[in-house]
Symmetry: C2
Subunit: 341 residues, 2 copies
């Protein structure tokens, strides 16, 4: 399986991206297609000693920076690393694309090149989080769309339902709406109207879900706009890093180290939760609603995160997620994936 | 010092409220004024054996329930426990009011009875959170206003600046805007416009703050709308409870218990963070922007949380927070606190 990787996207690109791709090639037998400036990619390949591993390099001279406006940058930089990487999927050279670069640019490139699934107005990033009970919860949108209309949130519910059903194997997923209170009158203008649409839909709507209940399995799918989803996930990550940092600093010295040895097995179940929240472990989240598989990795991804994002891309491609969404909306016949260009 | 307490508000009212108030009277020498249905309050007072403690009971026959629309409920139920409790502050019988009931109703009662501070369009709940560095961060709005305009967010920045300066003693607080990316182009429509107002203000504006950086002290004041603030805080609480629950379940059995004995001192610094996120410990957060001191306690407050919310009310009243905000906006002369009715 070939996975296209935007080698120039991310805070630590191309170094961490190339290194992560090489680890993925070694560990999972995947064939990464590294897209970007060849000289820089090849220098990194030599540095990590990629040797005989099956790593392809595809040229893309332009790079979209984090501060650029995505739509304008995509128009101006026709041969950006993200656009050329998405093109690899469109042309059938790669089964999926991974990017740790500008999320808006990745979404824009996917929309322009692969196209939207009919019936979905906005794609959404689906983050799969663990709960105390053990059954995962799908939180979407985790950051693709900052300003959403009620019907967008309802469509996120539909995509989350399909993802939970088809990929996670949950028979009748309970779809909740992230809100500031469980009562029906709680919410902002957009969520209150979205609740109305979801209540009238065929989905198994569980009503409002409070932040406190997110990790306790009160719903299998939790819907929110991309601004809220991004802030919630990043706050969770920050909190977990903060607690971890405090632990690590306490485990210094011989007494601490000795305790650490006893502590490690004890911390294992807690790590399940913070491991899923730690982007270096889960690697990335799928962008749902487009005609192809795209994994959005964290901008701060290190090599380990990139390696794991490539694994996530392999899993999503194996599950044929876009085809499942298309067939759930339009029936089995429509499930072929035509590329727009 | 007398503190008015809405005895009927909260998931565990009046039992937990009365018990918490009795503990506060015993532990802090405060005089709680319990407002609600006297027969029910007195039954609880007998149950906990309040005896000779200085606890007052003030009659309020109506109760506003969580599912009610705040403005309509306040109009219909003129003698609700929250309205009568706020009236105690207005008339000078109490130095502050505490409520674990309907947040919207508490804010509505404060606006109607105590009034808004001139220059502030919307009051905001200010949550004080710890950071890894030790210096606290003020997050506001933590849940008073779900739909905000850019100028509201800018005013929250102003109130947060005054609170951090006057109460927390931070000389030139850095005011950040919670967003989905640190770059200026990141944000939703409202936060991008709010950033423009904050950049032009006299505040020490630190730009966008990502969720991940909230607990790492990149800003002293972090501004967001009440929907986002509520969801973020409750997700943080939920995450901490989830991690805690995993630890507790792992510390069962003799081996776990033995380890627990060694672990307890080790967990102390981590507890500082989750203690502040745990509403049972911090008790509540001040509602800033009104002509008086009001502490909003968590709806799920138990007796311990209510006791601590009363302590928070005593602290806020001692610091004369509303007077500081008025004098910072309008000069020292204006700092008297006239009640509207």
């Amino acid at each position: 399986m070939r996975i296209a990787v935007d080698a120039m996207g991310g805070d630590h690109a191309p170094r961490a991206i190339v290194e992560g791709a090489v680890h993925a090639a070694r560990d999972f037998g995947v064939e990464p297609v590294l897209v970007g400036i060849p000289a820089r990619i090849e220098a990194e390949l030599r540095r990590v000693g990629a040797g005989a591993l099956p790593v392809q390099v595809v040229e893309a001279p332009d790079v979209i920076e984090m501060h650029e406006h995505p739509a304008m940058a995509l128009r101006r930089k026709r041969r950006s690393s993200i656009a050329v990487a998405v093109q690899q999927v469109c042309e059938g050279h790669a089964a999926a694309v991974v990017s740790a670069g500008h999320t808006g640019a990745a979404m824009g490139a996917c929309l322009l090149i692969l196209g939207r699934i009919k019936g979905i107005d906005r794609p959404a990033i689906a983050a799969v989080l663990p709960t105390v009970g053990g059954r995962p919860v799908v939180l979407l949108d985790a950051g693709a769309n900052v300003d959403c209309q009620p019907q967008h949130l309802a469509q996120f519910g539909l995509m989350g339902d399909i993802y939970a059903r088809e990929v996670l194997g949950i028979p009748s997923p309970r779809v909740g709406l992230l809100s500031n209170g469980e009562e029906d009158i709680k919410g902002n203008d957009v969520t209150i109207r979205a609740a109305g649409i979801l209540r009238d839909s065929k989905l198994n709507f569980a009503g409002n879900i409070e932040g406190e209940d997110l990790f306790f399995g009160l719903a299998d799918v939790v819907v929110c706009d991309g601004f809220v989803g991004n802030v919630v996930l990043k706050c969770g990550e920050g909190l977990v890093l903060a607690i971890r940092q405090i632990f690590t600093s306490e485990l210094r010295g011989w007494r601490g180290r000795l305790l650490g040895l006893y502590l490690l097995p004890l911390l294992r179940p807690a790590r399940r939760i913070w491991g899923r929240l730690d982007y270096r472990e889960h690697g990335g989240a799928p962008l749902l609603g487009i005609n192809g598989v795209c994994i959005i990795a964290h901008g701060r991804s290190n090599a380990r995160a990139v390696r794991n994002a490539i694994r996530a891309a392999m899993e999503a491609a194996t599950h044929h997620v876009p085809a499942r969404i298309i067939s759930a909306i339009h029936g089995e016949k429509a499930a072929a994936l035509p590329c727009l260009r």
